[in-house]
């Protein structure tokens, strides 16, 4: 830090000289809004908010902040479930939404180049004109930005076939805290040239650099799809189905698990979903030999103990699935949303462990998840009185996932919610390496402090 911290007026005036008067604010109602995202706990009010319109403004704001040691939190739609985009120590929130152009959509090589304010839905509307889509499908797909998905390494319901956002990220334009701007990758399908900086930035939650452009891979839209429900009497038997399907060669694009409390919640909300201990919603896509595959897959599910049903209205089922999370969390005042991932073969064991923790700690827990790729969302419906117990239960579930070879977060990112669990997953040495990386790229700790690793550990002597 080479200069003293500016006063509020000085800060606003300096930022206005970069982005213009209309794109900087210190109004308190704005600061309140930008101190919160979809994580239930509030952040700290920033000192100012700027809206940026191009890479040069991002560079200038970061250089200004870097020279003064001011924190900068890049943000777009603010849909993070872990507090990834809320300030923890004041500073500047950088709203990327005005950078909302699709710069290129290449039909032949099937990629798109987007600015950070481009929403998933906007990109897919354009891509669909060419028979393509950006297939990674998060629950917040109607509003989330593509670059926000990259920054948190989001995935969602169709990762079982299409993989994660990282799998579709080819190249990024990134601005570091000191204003240095560089490209991380290429438009080639394969690239073995040196360090994979693209992967380093994917999931970095704005702590290493600010993504100002991204090239993402698109895939052809499937010609056909069909959905069925597999109903089970218990979670563990359902878990076996995921193992069986994973070991087979079906073109399953989504395999979603919904437990009884969740199904009951959806029924109360007017959705036409069946009553069962567990429902697994399976979507098969493809073109050639589609019907044969469908028959084989449903037979496999039936042999695995499922009552198989096909819906007259699969869209209704997928709408119900998309409504599952909000339907659940509105049932309580202090929801805690797990996002654990485990190897597929350990899913039955993980499901057993979740149930044991639930019973031992006497907490209402409902489980949903993209179980086809080993991703479970145990949602702990805590109240003010049970919040601390709920957090302990969540930590135990995360640690159990790590013990099974899994992760504390698969697609929501770390944010401020899970940074205390990073050492359990990576050990002291792993986290220390992350801190060294952070220091190397952001020596003044300007970019989104307090995320991924705890703030006090991130501070520089």
């Amino acid at each position: 830090m080479s200069q003293s911290q500016p006063s509020g007026d000085e800060l606003a005036s300096s930022l206005a000289s970069i982005v213009g008067n209309d794109d900087v604010t210190t109004r308190r109602d704005e600061l309140v809004g930008y101190s919160r995202d979809a994580f239930p706990e509030d952040g700290v009010l920033p000192d100012a908010v700027v809206r940026v319109e191009d890479t040069s403004e991002v560079q200038a704001v970061l250089q200004y902040a870097n020279e003064r040691g001011l924190h900068v939190v890049p943000r777009a739609m603010g849909t993070s479930l872990t507090g990834s985009v809320v300030p923890v120590e004041g500073g500047i929130v950088m709203d990327m939404r005005p950078m909302d152009q699709i710069l290129e959509l290449n039909e032949d090589d099937m990629f798109a180049r987007v600015q950070p304010g481009v929403r998933w839905e906007t990109l897919n509307e354009r891509a669909e004109e060419y028979g393509l889509h950006f297939p990674v499908d998060p629950g917040s797909s109607s509003v989330v930005t593509v670059c926000g998905m990259i920054a948190t390494h989001a995935s969602g319901m169709r990762a079982v076939k299409y993989g994660t956002t990282g799998d579709h990220t080819m190249d990024l334009e990134v601005v570091l805290a000191d204003g240095t701007t560089f490209e991380t990758g290429t438009r080639s399908i394969k690239n073995s040239a040196g360090y994979d900086l693209t992967s380093l930035l994917v999931g970095s939650e704005g702590t290493l650099g600010v993504i100002t452009e991204a090239t993402v891979r698109l895939t052809p839209l499937p010609e056909r799809s069909r959905t069925f429900m597999a109903l089970f009497d218990d979670l563990e038997t359902a878990g076996e189905l995921f193992v069986d399907v994973k070991q087979s060669n079906f073109d399953v694009s989504a395999m979603e698990l919904l437990d009884r409390p969740l199904l009951e919640t959806l029924q109360e909300g007017g959705f036409d979903v069946p009553t069962a201990e567990v429902m697994v919603l399976v979507e098969l896509v493809g073109d050639r030999a589609f019907e044969e595959s469908y028959d084989e897959l449903t037979t496999l599910a039936a042999e695995g103990g499922a009552a198989v049903r096909e819906s007259d209205d699969p869209e209704e089922l997928w709408t119900a699935r998309r409504s599952a999370y909000p339907s659940l969390v509105r049932r309580c005042t202090h929801p805690i949303t797990g996002d654990i991932g485990v190897p597929i073969s350990t899913l039955p064991e993980m499901l057993r462990t979740i149930r044991e923790i639930r019973d031992e700690m006497d907490l209402p827990v409902s489980v949903l998840g993209h179980a086809g790729d080993g991703n479970l969302h145990p949602v702990i419906l805590a109240s003010e009185d049970t919040l601390e117990r709920g957090k302990d239960a969540h930590d135990r579930m995360c640690e159990a996932a790590v013990d099974l070879g899994g992760t504390v977060t698969t697609e929501h990112g770390v944010g401020i919610e899970k940074n205390h669990l990073m050492e359990y997953q990576y050990g002291e040495e792993g986290v220390a390496v992350m801190r060294r990386l952070k220091r190397a790229l952001d020596p003044n700790n300007v970019l989104n402090p307090g995320k991924i690793t705890p703030s006090e550990e991130n501070a520089h002597e």
């Binding site: 109004r27 109602d29 849909t79 917040s140 509105r330 005042t333 109240s383």
Partner: protein, 438 residues
Amino acid sequence: MSEPSVPAVDSGSQGGEPGIGGADFGRFQGHSDRDDLEIDTEHCIRCGLCVTACPVFDELGWESVTPRGHANVINAYLDGTLEDSAIVGENFDLCLKCKQCLEPCPTGIEIPNLVLRGMEHHHEENGGSLSDLVYAKPRLLNQVGGFFAPLSNVVANTAPVRKLMEETIGMDSRRPLPHFSTSSFTDWFASHDPEPALGDLDRDVALYVDCYVDRNYPEIGKAAVRVLERMGASVSLADTGCCGRAALSKGRIDEAEAKADAHIEDLVSIAESGTDVVAIEPSCAAMMTTEYPEMYDSARVDRFAERTHELMVYLDRHLDSIGGEFEFDPVEDHVAYHSHCHMKEQDLGPAAANVLQRIPGLDVDEPIVSCCGMAGSFGYQTEYYDTSLEIGENLFEQIRESGGDPMAIGYSCRLQISDGMDTEVDHPIHVVERSTRP
């Protein structure tokens, strides 16, 4: 045994029970206390799915004006994080209450109604403004203006009077005022000769006399009566008083409730006599069909709401089954029809376009926008006049591209389009009237 009369709106606390997940978080249930409101705002899970539905955010682009942003501001206002009264008041004003955020909300929270309840607390703690007091009483203003017409049209539009209005009640002098008619719709109705019934719509219809039709837009009322009578309906008037929408949209909930209380029994009685209630203004129709049932926990009010429709929705519902000689003559024209946000919110947006598309020769375009940006008095207010027109620009541009004559069902929408595009804007009932002349 007859059912009991509709009780006055209960002004006691009716907020949702915390932590249970009832279906009514944030719904308009009349006056609520501070704690209930705070609990309701906390049930916004801040997912942001509402953000892109908001026309104000679309124009201004700041987080505080998103529906989620309003919930955050109410919450911060109630817990003391946000103390600046002027900022809070402005934030509440910048919700147009167009309700386009309801459809994408996965938790069913009605943020516009949380804002209204927030406004009510803000008024109580800071005193309501003179402009809010005035804007909440359109019927009184229009009755006075109509009484003195045509003099009132001249006087109200002189520069000194406009300047005075701007300085006292913040009414922007650039915004044209509604015209006061020298003759009233109700007087015309009392002496009019009913149209010959061409159709066999054998129903009794009470046309609701809203605050504007009598002295500002009597021609729309006349056209509505003529069309309904040609369809075969027996038309009377429901001249029961203001529905309270204007007061409600200013967060003056007690006043809105009092206006509703003053005529709910009359309206319910009309419906119970087997008469359909038809409202010309979509906001009034929505007030009676969506807000009243929530204000009154009464099966009688629910049944009244089921019998009540906006004019074009009513036509759309009955045109399929109508027999006799009622038919549409060709009208060779091209129109760009803008629906109303409160109709869209109830999935009734296409009704008027459905009716227009029955007219042979009429080419109908439908601009796709969430809200015109006028929002009742919002577009009159000096501090929001420019913003209002900027929000409307998307609509204006689509109408220009269409090349059709602009049409809209809402009074405010027509005024906004007229001002923003410097053109005349018709209510679609006029085309229907032309097309169905005996």
